[in-house]
């Protein structure tokens, strides 16, 4: 096995990087591939919370780097999925406790034993972001259909291009089809048109994501959730499968369906 290292980044905060990492990881691991999540947000960790593993942390990534434990000891196995591991960030340190070469070293140590390493990048374009992209074979840029999030994503893509990383793929998160239809939200086409990088997934706005994040059970485990389905599709695309994009129309409410039936649209 030689793992692919995938970093999830966005520039802007709060667009759903951590949620995306947790869900893609769960979806991949549910299909039997071995996945390690690495929380790159030293000092503001929360991937452990979203994955529901907070109370199992003994060692973290800084302990590994500073030699207080072996890499294996810092890997926390998921509650439900035996192929899913988390290496948590340190909460009491800051980004300067880790260097880009540390991240490369840790990922190289993981590579022979796992299929995927997913790195949750912190917001911003400073040290933490540089750490997170240093070992990446591939970068997924998450954005929301909002002007400010798209602007920051554009900046991140520019930096990745300057670093000569392989062209990143785009995830549009929290798309609200009803708002797009009213022309109150950027459409997926608008975002793709501006950023000009290949799309790997569109995740619809879905309340269950917040609920499940708080519970520590990523929504990708919920077979009924549309957002969960979107994340499962992204995981399949990462593995190289061709999966058609979700039909956003389905998300519309009863009223639209009635209108359709009566032929008013």
């Amino acid at each position: 096995m030689t793992a692919q290292v995938i970093t999830v980044s966005s520039g802007k905060g709060g667009v759903g990087k951590t949620t995306t990492v947790a869900n893609i990881a769960v979806a991949l691991a549910a299909n039997g591939v071995k996945v390690v999540c690495l929380d790159g947000d030293i000092g503001l960790r929360n991937l452990d919370v979203v994955m529901g593993l907070e109370n199992r942390i003994v060692y973290d990534i800084v302990d590994v780097i500073e030699g207080r434990c072996k890499l294996r000891q810092a890997m926390i196995r998921d509650k439900h999925l035996p192929e899913l591991y988390l290496i948590p960030a340190a909460q009491t340190r800051d980004k300067n406790a880790v260097s880009p070469s540390d991240m490369v070293r840790i990922c190289n140590e993981l590579r022979p034993d796992v299929d995927y390493v997913l790195i949750d990048s912190p917001a911003g374009i400073e040290r933490g972001f540089r750490n997170a992209i240093a070992p990446a074979d591939r970068v997924l840029v998450v954005t929301n259909p909002e002007v400010s999030a798209v602007r920051d994503a554009d900046r991140v893509i520019g930096i990745l291009e300057a670093e000569e990383k392989r062209s990143p793929a785009l995830i549009i998160n929290r798309l609200n089809h009803a708002l797009v239809k009213q022309h109150d939200m950027l459409s997926a086409e608008d975002v793709i048109d501006l950023l000009g990088i290949p799309l790997i997934g569109i995740v619809p706005e879905d309340e269950t994501v917040i609920v499940s994040s708080n519970r520590g059970t990523p929504v990708a485990q919920d077979p009924k959730s549309r957002a969960g389905q979107a994340f499962r599709n992204i995981a399949k695309r990462i593995k190289g499968e061709v999966v058609p994009f979700l039909d956003m129309e389905k998300q519309t409410g009863l009223w639209d369906r009635l209108q359709k039936m009566t032929g008013r649209r």
Binding site: S101, D102, E161
Partner: protein
């Protein structure tokens, strides 16, 4: 002391200071470096040093020793750049970086080419994304988009074969005859010489347009074949 300090070169980098050593014996160079640091304590206080040691081979204990004496002076060693794979490996073992990030040329283009004439133009064959800035003392031609948050400052004209959504300053040294053309001209900010475009009423036209100065005002007109401004 003078002959000692000439052994090493120090220059500033984006991430810290780069110290380049010459081929002189290691002990002498270390002494020279420490002498420099002790001589300018205020400057080196809290600095991050990258060490370019060329083809020299360093032993682990030599590297550790240097790192320790540096940290006693509140200077951290973060990278050792070497042509020797052995030294590189040693540095990696100690958790030091062995490659310092290259300055990113795309970030800021600041060309200063002497003997420019009217015909000089910079050709940019890519989309300029948010945060990137191109400065040029002639004309600029872009094959790609100028995204919001990107900037072009040119002493001459700016031609964009793509969408212009960022900020543009043409004729930056005061040339009122400079023009800005784009297939889709919808900039956040457009300035020609000292005149700033009033874009409060701009709307997407979907047609190529040209901006130029006339009567102290920036005028925008649809591009017409045969129109030479």
């Amino acid at each position: 002391m003078n002959d000692l300090t000439s052994l090493i070169h120090i220059k500033g980098l984006r991430d810290g200071l780069l110290v380049s050593l010459s081929d002189a014996p290691w002990e002498e160079q270390c002494a020279a470096l420490l002498a420099q640091i002790d001589g300018q304590q205020a400057f080196f206080q809290g600095a991050r040093l990258a060490l370019d040691i060329g083809s020299q081979v360093l032993k682990v204990n030599e590297m550790v020793e240097l790192r320790d004496v540096l940290s006693e002076r509140n200077v951290s060693l973060w990278a050792v750049v070497s042509e020797s794979p052995v030294t590189e490996k040693t540095a990696q073992l100690l958790g030091l970086a062995t490659r310092i990030s290259k300055p990113r040329p795309e970030e800021i283009h600041n060309f200063d080419i002497r003997n420019l004439n009217d015909e000089t133009a910079l050709f940019v064959n890519k989309t300029l994304r948010s945060g990137s800035r191109v400065e040029f003392s002639g004309h600029v031609v872009v094959l790609g988009d100028i995204n919001p948050g990107a900037e072009i400052v040119a002493d001459g004209s700016v031609i964009v074969w793509g969408r212009l959504r960022g900020a543009v300053h043409a004729g930056a040294k005061g040339d009122q005859s400079a023009v800005v053309c784009a297939l889709d001209l919808l900039p956040i900010r457009l300035q020609v010489a000292d005149e700033v475009m009033n874009n409060s009423t701009r709307r997407e036209t979907g047609k190529p347009e040209m901006a130029f100065v006339s009567d102290q005002k920036v005028i925008i007109e649809a591009w017409q074949p045969g129109n030479t401004g």
